[in-house]
């Protein structure tokens, strides 16, 4: 098997043939409502995915601006640009927003857009739930951010340790915004994760048996499973904290039998898996981009898949490494140190799989590839500082110092943001139908990568010199001045880089050259569809013959062969193919829902519920929750199986 020559000149021939057979009728069947109504009622995974990206990108910008203000404040010692009240809200909101409202949903955006395309289907398993997830994400994000102008943004840090966050020490609404906002978002995330898993289990194109599932899909599924198992712990903690603060229960109240460390366990049982929840799909992007631009399939596919799944599992057993300074027993410290070390092994396997892929292939340098390789550079630096923390006394020295801040920005920014930029540059032509400027992309890369290192590398030194994190200012003369100044300068280079990147994309939208179907000569199914894809994605569902369907010759041909087969064209209404979990036997043609305003209504009512809870209008909360349930009941009632030609089992 060798990399096929790049298909140039636009449309993939096999798809053109298929489209000429059934394209017109599918266009008609899948036509979308334009305008505002269409915006509210759409259930199309690509539109929803795009929205996820734009919204999460917007929150990234806001949280990034928070960071710029923080960096300006910290640029010089004894600075008084912001008050301590504001600074505490800024860093808390920055952390919360970057983790919950940017990194996870940005991945969800890519997942929404590309998971169905990569597995060769027409939509997500539960398109209406998908729409709900998005609206809930949007509204909970607005809920969270709109607190800042009122001075009510969370101010207990992103992990909000009790008892500080109890009502006694932080009496305002700030922490209620935190608990409610995160519970609110959790609904969205949980629903979204279930959706990803079921889609990947039941809707893969015929022939895409487990050993032919793209790695990106594996990472999204692993991530979704992790969310399903990890989020409840955070939800429970937040619910308990909310009850403690509002209704006087005593889960964390030391005077009445509660305990402060319980919160830390509950938070980090979620919190540690969460960092891999963020990084796994990002690694999935890397595993997609690197083979394409190395012109060969990924090395050691089974090992990479195993490593992905193993990371997901092991990550549930290391949470105590965030609590090494709490004074737990030596036995548990040793145990969790060992677990922490174990988790580096799957990371190493993946790292070397990418490196070997490059060394055995032919490297093509594009902006996406530059970002992908810069991920390797950043992640190894962030990864090894993580390994250093497994030496418990060393961790006790640097925990809660800027050394940790450096570690987690190297793995979060380097490990998640850089791959996301790689993904954006890689998939941009598919999403928008336009190419980006090559030179512009390289300048973007240079600015962002330089800015990133200049910002975060000096933080290692600040931490080693004893600078604790979460301080709004610091005295001069302790050796902290210079690293901080450099970091601040770096942050502005970074901001310039993002501004430039934004213009590169804007320029592409306005006047970029049109993109062919498969500009990179890639290997996965999304490149068979149009740029941008039609609402129905595939005129004919292909049969997948290998892990690299675009390179094996046969998978594409199957689109042409099956163009008169109703089971693959499904032209009568919104339909999709349901296949068996392991070997993708065709089970059924499944009706898919049409456009509907129900998701929007559900989300609005749930928003009303959370706002009422926040302001303590409990009757209003009851009413809106009741209405929300009624809408959901109506939703369950009006199922496509009854009022429309066929059923789609959906709950």
């Amino acid at each position: 098997m060798t990399a096929a020559t790049t298909v140039t000149g636009g449309v993939i021939p096999e798809r053109r043939v298929a489209e000429s057979a059934v394209g017109e009728i599918l266009d008609e069947v899948w036509e979308e409502e334009p305008g505002l109504i269409g915006w509210i009622t759409t259930v199309n995974h690509k539109r929803i995915g795009r929205r996820y990206l734009v919204t999460a990108g917007f929150f990234f910008m806001l949280a990034g601006i928070n960071a710029l203000v923080m960096r300006t404040q910290l640029g010089t010692p004894n600075n008084t640009l912001v008050s301590p009240e504001l600074y505490d809200q800024l860093f808390s909101l920055h952390g919360v927003a970057m983790i919950f409202f940017f990194a996870t949903p940005f991945n969800a955006g890519f997942g929404n857009f590309f998971l169905p395309l990569m597995i060769g289907t027409r939509d997500m398993a539960f398109p209406r739930m998908n729409a709900v997830s998005y609206f809930l994400f949007l509204f909970s994000g607005l809920f969270m951010f709109s607190s800042l102008p009122f001075g009510l943004a969370p101010d207990g840090g992103w992990f909000a340790y009790v008892p500080l966050t109890g009502v006694k020490y932080l009496p305002g609404l700030n922490l209620d915004v935190y608990t409610l906002g995160l519970l609110f978002l959790a609904v969205s995330t949980t629903v979204g994760s279930i959706n990803f898993i079921v889609t990947a289990l039941k809707m893969r194109a015929p022939g895409m048996t487990l050993n032919r599932v793209p790695i990106y899909v594996w990472t999204v599924v692993t991530q979704s499973f992790m969310l399903i198992f990890a989020l409840p712990s955070l939800d429970l903690a937040n619910a308990m904290l909310f009850l403690d603060r509002r209704f006087g229960t005593n889960f964390f109240d030391i005077k009445h039998g509660g305990d402060a460390i319980l919160w830390q366990h509950l938070f980090w049982i979620f919190g540690h898996p969460d960092v891999y929840i963020i990084v796994l799909p990002a690694m999935g992007i890397i595993s997609t981009v690197i083979p394409t631009f190395s012109r060969r399939p990924i090395t050691a596919y089974p090992l990479v898949v195993l490593a992905t799944v193993a990371t997901g599992i092991i990550s549930f057993g290391v949470w105590v490494h965030h609590m090494f300074a709490v004074g737990l027993s030596q036995v548990s410290e040793s145990f969790f140190a060992a677990a922490t070390l174990t988790i580096s092994i799957p990371a190493g396997v993946q790292m070397f799989a990418w490196l070997v892929t490059m060394w055995k292939g032919r490297v093509v340098i594009t902006t996406a590839m530059l970002y992908a390789v810069s991920f390797i550079v950043a992640f190894v630096i962030g990864g090894v500082t993580g390994v250093m923390f497994a030496v418990v006394p060393f961790d006790q020295q640097v925990t809660d110092s800027y050394f940790v801040v450096a570690h987690f920005h190297y793995v979060l920014f380097g490990g998640a943001v850089l791959p996301m930029l790689a993904g954006l540059f890689y998939w941009w032509p598919k999403m928008t139908g336009r190419m980006t400027s090559h030179k512009g992309g390289i300048v973007s890369f240079i600015l962002v990568f330089t800015g990133f290192n200049v910002t975060f590398f000096p933080m290692h030194f600040a931490g080693m010199l004893g600078m604790p994190r979460r301080v709004y200012t610091y005295p001069s003369g302790l050796g902290w001045d210079i690293p901080n100044l450099i970091s601040t300068i770096g942050a502005f280079i970074l901001a310039a880089g993002f501004l430039w990147t934004f213009f590169v994309f804007a320029q592409s939208l306005l006047s970029g050259p049109r993109a062919p179907d498969d500009p990179w000569g890639a290997n996965t199914l999304e490149w068979v569809t149009g740029s941008p894809p039609k609402p129905y994605n595939f005129p004919v569902i292909p049969t997948v013959h290998s892990l690299n369907p675009l390179w094996d010759g046969k998978s594409l041909a199957s689109m042409e062969e099956h163009r008169h087969d109703y089971n693959r064209t499904m032209t009568s209404t919104h339909l999709a193919l349901r296949t068996s979990e392991l070997d993708t036997r065709v089970e059924k043609i499944m009706p898919m829902p049409e456009e509907t305003p129900v998701p929007f209504a559900t989300a609005v009512l749930l928003t009303a519920f959370f706002i009422s809870m926040l302001v303590g209008a409990y009757h209003a909360a009851e009413v809106s929750f009741g209405l929300c349930l009624a809408v959901v009941a109506f939703w369950l009632w009006r199922r496509p199986g009854i009022d429309e030609p066929e059923e789609a089992e959906e709950l």
Partner: protein, 210 residues
């Protein structure tokens, strides 16, 4: 090189009959419910773990000296009834594909009733536990009321699903052609029963073992 061709009549209108008559394998709805149950189980697992964590962290007698041990009568009967209702639920699952609409309606109704009994008994128990224990007096009370309370909320959710099922049965919207929803709801109902046993054991029985 492939040639272009025009659209054929064959490809355009064919009724959706091509797939096998009886769906094989699990549906997306089934998977959705299973995953939902997974995430719910984790919530309760974390809650039960918190119960024992606070209990052993607290040390000393449990319930704390200021509280009385829990009353057993109503929760025991309620839990028993809820567990028993799994039988009628299972009968409903069997009746649905066979088109026995009366049997289906009846079994669902009995299940629904059992759920109501459980909720009612739990509420009666709350009145008995107070004022010796309250949600706000100490961690013991908070745990007891909130853990069972969260479960009650989930049972109410299950009852909501049953109401939709009963109504659908009456209107003929579920039946032999469409038995799936009953099976899916039954999963949730069994889950509620298992939870009830775990919570009963933890909240009502373990305080007596110390």
């Amino acid at each position: 090189m492939t040639t272009l061709d025009t659209r054929t009549e064959q490809a355009i209108r064919r009724p959706p009959r091509a797939a096998p008559e009886r769906p094989v394998g699990h549906t997306t709805g089934w998977w959705g419910m299973v995953l939902f149950i997974c995430t719910e189980s984790m919530t309760f697992a974390a809650f039960l773990a918190s119960y024992f964590y606070l209990r052993f962290d607290h040390g000393g007698p449990w319930p704390p000296a200021a509280d009385k041990p829990p009353h057993l009568l109503f929760p025991s009967v309620g839990t028993f009834v809820l567990v028993l209702s799994c039988v009628t639920m299972a009968l409903a699952v069997r009746a649905a594909p066979k088109g026995r609409r009366a049997a289906l309606g009846l079994t669902l109704l009995v299940t629904l009733l059992a759920g109501c009994v459980f909720v009612a008994f739990q509420c009666v128990d709350y009145t008995q536990e107070m004022p010796s224990s309250t949600p706000t007096k100490d961690a013991y009370g908070s745990l007891m009321f909130m853990l069972t309370g969260l479960h009650v909320v989930h049972v109410l959710l299950g009852l909501g699903m049953l109401v939709v099922l009963v109504a659908s049965t009456l209107l003929g919207r579920i039946g032999p052609k469409r038995p799936e929803p009953v099976a899916i709801v039954s999963l949730y109902w069994y889950f509620l029963a298992v939870l009830a046993v775990c919570i009963y054991g933890t909240v009502y029985l373990t305080p007596y073992l110390s």
